[in-house]
Amino acid sequence: MSSTLYSPYWRGVRDGLPFLLVIAPFSLLFGVVATEAGLNVFEALSFSIMVIAGASQFAAVQLLQDNAPTIIVILSALAVNLRMAMYSASLTAHLGAAPLWQRALIAYLTVDQSYALSVATYEKEPDWSLPQKVAYFFGSVTPICPFWYVFTVVGALIGNTIPPEYALDFALPITFIAMVAPMMRSVPHLLAACVAVTASLFLTGLPLNLGLMVSASLGMMAGAQAELWLERRGPGVQT
């Protein structure tokens, strides 16, 4: 690796490393839940390698356990992952010019943490070249994705020896809150989040997790409209 890529790669590793504290318990919990639902270690690991998306994996195992029809299991778990298409579109603005094999690998490794870290850092480092951005992305997933697999196996092996008092279920919401709060650096960002939160409370009853998609779309529209409105008010307004 040349020296100009060395630094963004390691910065990505450093930025991604703390998420190990979240990834480890979360994938451990998936392993536990999967074995409780009757999956063996190999099946649980295959789930984590193929799907590599926590919320969606939990949704699928939960529905399998409830004996939901196969097609409903698949559609619901994919609906939880629809946000990945939004991440993909958002990353395209930064990484779209990379070679196809790199884009395919980036797509496979697009998770909430790598997406959020990369987009936040690209905005801070507008002078980065494409290879530097790609290096940072791969750096950010280095401490995340391998451990997603490893701790799934650990969780599946120790099975249900973790007592529910540890409340590992809530590691995910807390992580996402802490990740997203520092992104509220302008009025449109804040407005987008407020609209999405409010809509999600009202639309939670929609089938197939569609509430998430509709709420997120409304939030994005609110942010975009607020940005336009501030622009029209003329220069000098801090957005």
């Binding site: 993909s88 958002s90 529910p164 990740m179 409370l201 994005m220 975009a224």
Partner: protein
Amino acid sequence: MSETAELWLVILALGIGSFGLRFAFLGVIGDKELPPWVLRHLRYTAVAVLPALVTPLVVWPAANGGELDPARLGAAIIALIVSVATGRVILGIMCGLGGLYGLLWLLG
């Protein structure tokens, strides 16, 4: 269909489908210019999707039978305040988890 066959069908379909969703734009659009109005919406993807994902989990946590849980709500508020005030993600997570265990112990 046997349970094992159904499980593997779900794993394969989810694997292919999830990759498809992640590759949809990155793979197909590539370095073609996106129109400004699309980029304007995409800037707000993360701040719209993540809060919309989290809010129902905070208000109606499955671990509490889908009922509002003061400990979990309190922990979420602590994580929010700390990460907004300091801008430090990991500190927010640590304080949120600390708050969760503290509140579960206090209220439990």
